[in-house]
Symmetry: D2
């Protein structure tokens, strides 16, 4: 409801700038008595961490998370949540503020420099300040906690398109995702992308991407129509990620091209005597409520605007200039968006699980 | 923040079922002293109203709106908002509950029947109850009020794709939109669609569509990063509309295929001495904050699942059945989604205008 | 979170002015499958209704409530909540707007006339508009629904002080409450008050009062520290009632005069083997969380400012005038505040019950 | 709206336990370009800090605050807010966890031990965990920021009653407040209280108190009726402070004893040609909206329940025990509640100032 928070019962508030002393989040409403160690959160942060391959920014950040509140070691010796706010902090260490001094007065095209100035009349130009993708570390940390709220929930993401190159879905292999630096589920595509992205990188250029996130283990019944629909809240959460320009649920924009006969998911009684769907065009959500099928969301990330080719722009003072971003940047920010997308979906599902439990017992 | 409300300072709560006595909304936080007549709201409701052509449901509803609170006639004889909640009510008149009796026990594939039952354990089966598109009348009414909050705001929508058929953007003509029953801005496409949709209708089938909404007159600086971004809130609002499966801002999913050089909008100093953008790939939003360019959003609507061809399904009791929806339905629900999309975008912009004014004075 | 709503999961939004066509509320988040008939709500409205004795305003309003949404008759023939928003409407019938025409330009001392004008620059002067105590009918209606959310909850209120006259607590008799027009639990005091208040009424004067509300059947564990404490939310809800100037929980202001030895409630193991408190100075709340003891709240209502004695004031135009309120008014608005206080406490407890169930399962 | 946050546009979320590594808050929605140095916040923390006299707990905490985000040094060399979340952190240093080991299994009467266990099934027993008054340091820090939001706002508090001993209001002297360890505005009472409280302290007992907070410089028009009334939100904020059992606005409970003639504040046109009130019984709020008069609130704090005299209680395991609290405690927690009350009132007024600016421009 406020500017830097999301969620209703599982509520996450993030804070911090790219080049401030630290960044973090406060998770309010996490159920009590859930085992939670810093290492579990760290594991997800490590996936998102920059500087792990030549395809992401060379900024080196350990992204070491500390749990400052909301847990205690129980009598069984296990650290658990207590139901009070969980404050997580990650210190910034590799800040190199001087890299950014020359863009202090210049609006980088495609970045939020101009709009932050238009809004606030003051702008933390160091590394993009609050608009930096570094903020997403806090999301990933929150997502690691969210994953533990709904027992049985598994949320996984993958890069399914880089520039014009899509994966071949018949080759989808979740295990492949962790074996290439792109979170790509298609091992063949991953090899081709390596060559393609290396070219982008060497040119000092950048390229967009599409990420798919699939949540399994979501029981039927989650979602709060009309204005807290599960797919709506997922769309909102994904669109809030830096550089995201589009979001789809299930077959998404393709649904516009289908007839009712093609699109509707038929039902039958399964072997276990319970209703089951024969397809999942809906992406696990009907009328804003989960159907019990996997929840499937995709989002498009634009190419980062930090490129070596000079682009026309203006200064705060109204002068026309050409801007060429040196700094350390991602040739494809979509790559590191994979764990961020997973985290956001996990947080939304955790929240809806608690909301449903509240209203419906 | 709760289930049936959206907005933070300009806050809309809707209520009502398809076949209850009435539906409506309460608008909380509308600024005072804005002239507001029921006729102004009615004009937008009339655009959305069913039964106006053979391409939308034949349900006949006058959709006459009453203003129950929040206005008074000022000393100048003009009815104005007072700053207190504006309650709007629309009575349901053409309900024909009997049409729906046979689907009381059956889950219509693609509809929210199964999920509402899974969530609530009770379901208003009459016309879809709360999940009916009739609820969108309340949104359109709220949008009519929202349009008056930010002076100079113009929000217009158009149908840009029906099934596989897209408009030719070079023929875009806003005046054409009101001259065909599809809100289509391309007069040539409109004629082709008439034939195409007539075929869909006669087959008792249905088809998806894509709607584009453009908001002009949005000043730079609106949007509340990180989790109340302008594009995020628009995505959320559009995804909350019945049957929507995808949302895009600016060039949307196409951005995934572009390089940084192609995608970034360059800037120059305009004739008026102020910064201007040379393109609008961003769709008027950078870093979640409006740039001063037109805000451009698109959303995909799936085909309605109410079709004459029998589909396999199950009953509440666990029996396998075939469902064939008779009732009165839209061959392309996307058509009537145009004024609804406009309304949602208008509400979000009004809210962000007030939020910005609050935080930034 | 917004201006005319309260509650987090059981959320109530009210609307309407004293002299508009109607007033009402929307209840969002009520659990599904709760039997709910309009008659049940009406019973509580009838308690609050004006014109029932010479000690309350002579305005005659049937205050007949209609349920416009959120319920349906289930297969067992019982009308039940469906989990969707419950819209309640009460039409205004006895409005006599002309009574108020002469105070259109005058600020009645002690009323909200001046401050509404200062805030909004426009003011519905007819009967106080939105600031009228008529709005509390919507609260009472919402409270009637709230009472059904937590099984076993009993919320009762009583007038415990009128002007300087307090009840004798040793004579407290809940059955007496319904046998006098003051909701007074002390039959002896009730008789004395009749004489006292008759004098006030004949003088065209008014007097303040204190109301006590007791909620029984509240399980230990409800309340959301730190900023959604149960007592905090009750204080907020009671202070939002027209004319309330003070709120206490448990022994309230008297606690300031006690030592730690006197004030702390000791504990022992009860006959049922469970912890029990030996006293209830805390009023059923410790650290913002219910203790399982009855929740006890009191609130002070100021005398209505509508009196026959002329008071010095000013007009909108800046002229000095004397104001004498004729209209139809309550010699002691505290009387009718009893069912309103009950309703607010019931709503807060229902909300916290659902919140607790959400976070803690 | 969530559990550990308050405010709508100026929104404060606090986190941290008494004996965790740190505590703090995140302030979301603070306007940009406000000069803000850590030293300014520190000055208010120093007022609240324990261990400054023998009348407060002897715990020694430097309570040194760090600003982790939301500010930057502007081109004029002054550190200013940027409009992004302000994260404040205070490390805990003097924790002595061993003091509390023996109450791990015992519920201290009057404390929140039993209710936290009832709610969460797990409890941070070290120093009261989240329910400790240490959390109020975060409130004071937030209040220091809030004071800078509304230009001209002055919020001051004073202790006006200790046990049965009230100040003589005719001796009220704001300068006296800082010259005694009780924040007492009556220099004569302050001396008497020193003797009285010394006795309480030596007995290992404790006593309650009443605090008064006065806010000057509040323009007419702030407050969001019906459920975000200014006095309602102040009542909520004050009741959320540890150990508070009652709240009053203006003449509070005394209003119950007054007639309409006595209580209403009359108005005249002042020397400056603007309306003015001839008295302030209302405490600066009418109909939930500020009147332009000073906002006056009072709240009652119960005696701390940590006393040397053994009290009967039970253990988690259901055993009956006697509890005698050793630790380091306040003979009168009301003293340190003075800066906390000021801070809460400042936060609420800042929030309402922004809300009013949002809705009313």
């Amino acid at each position: 409801m406020s500017h830097n928070s999301f969620g209703h019962l599982f509520r996450v508030s993030t804070w911090g700038e790219s080049h401030g002393p630290a960044l973090g989040c406060v998770i309010d409403g996490c159920p009590p008595r859930i085992p939670l160690a810093a290492e579990e959160i760290q594991a997800f942060l490590d996936k998102r961490r920059p500087g792990q391959s030549k395809f992401t920014t060379q900024r080196q950040e350990p992204d070491a998370v500390r749990i400052l509140s909301g847990v205690m070691v129980d009598e069984d010796g296990v650290q658990k949540t207590t139901g009070t706010p969980i404050s997580l902090m990650i210190e910034n260490t590799d800040q190199r503020s001087k890299d950014y001094s020359e863009i202090k007065e210049r609006y980088r095209p495609g970045h939020a420099d101009f709009t932050y100035d238009a809004k606030y009349g003051i702008r933390d130009y160091r590394g993009g300040g609050r608009s930096s993708a570094r903020e997403t570390a806090a999301r990933v940390a929150a997502g690691a906690v969210a994953r533990k709220v709904l027992p049985g929930l598994v949320v996984r993401g993958a890069l399914v398109q880089v520039g014009p190159h899509r994966i071949d879905r018949s080759r989808w292999d979740w295990e492949a995702v962790d074996r290439n630096p792109f979170f790509c589920p298609d091992p063949v595509a991953a090899e081709e992308w390596a060559t393609y992205l290396d070219g982008i990188r060497k040119d000092g250029s950048s390229i967009g991407a599409v990420i798919e996130v699939i949540a399994e283990g979501v029981p039927a019944g989650l979602g709060a129509p009309i204005y807290g629909k599960l797919d709506q809240d997922i769309a909102s959460a994904l669109m809030s990620i830096n550089a995201v320009k589009g979001v789809e649920i299930g077959n998404g924009f393709e649904a516009a091209t289908l007839t009712g006969e093609e699109n509707a998911d038929e039902m039958r009684i399964g072997a276990d005597g319970r209703p089951e769907f024969l397809s999942n065009n809906a992406g696990g959500v009907l009328g804003g409520i989960s159907s019990g099928e996997p929840v499937v969301a995709r989002f498009a990330v634009k190419p980062t605007s930090s490129i070596l080719t000079p682009r026309r722009s203006v200064t705060r003072g109204g002068e026309e200039v050409d801007v060429r971003t040196k700094g350390r940047h991602d040739p494809c920010v979509g790559i590191r968006a994979v764990p961020v997308g997973e985290a956001m979906v996990a947080c939304i599902i955790a929240d809806h699980y608690l909301r449903h439990r509240g209203q419906n017992g």
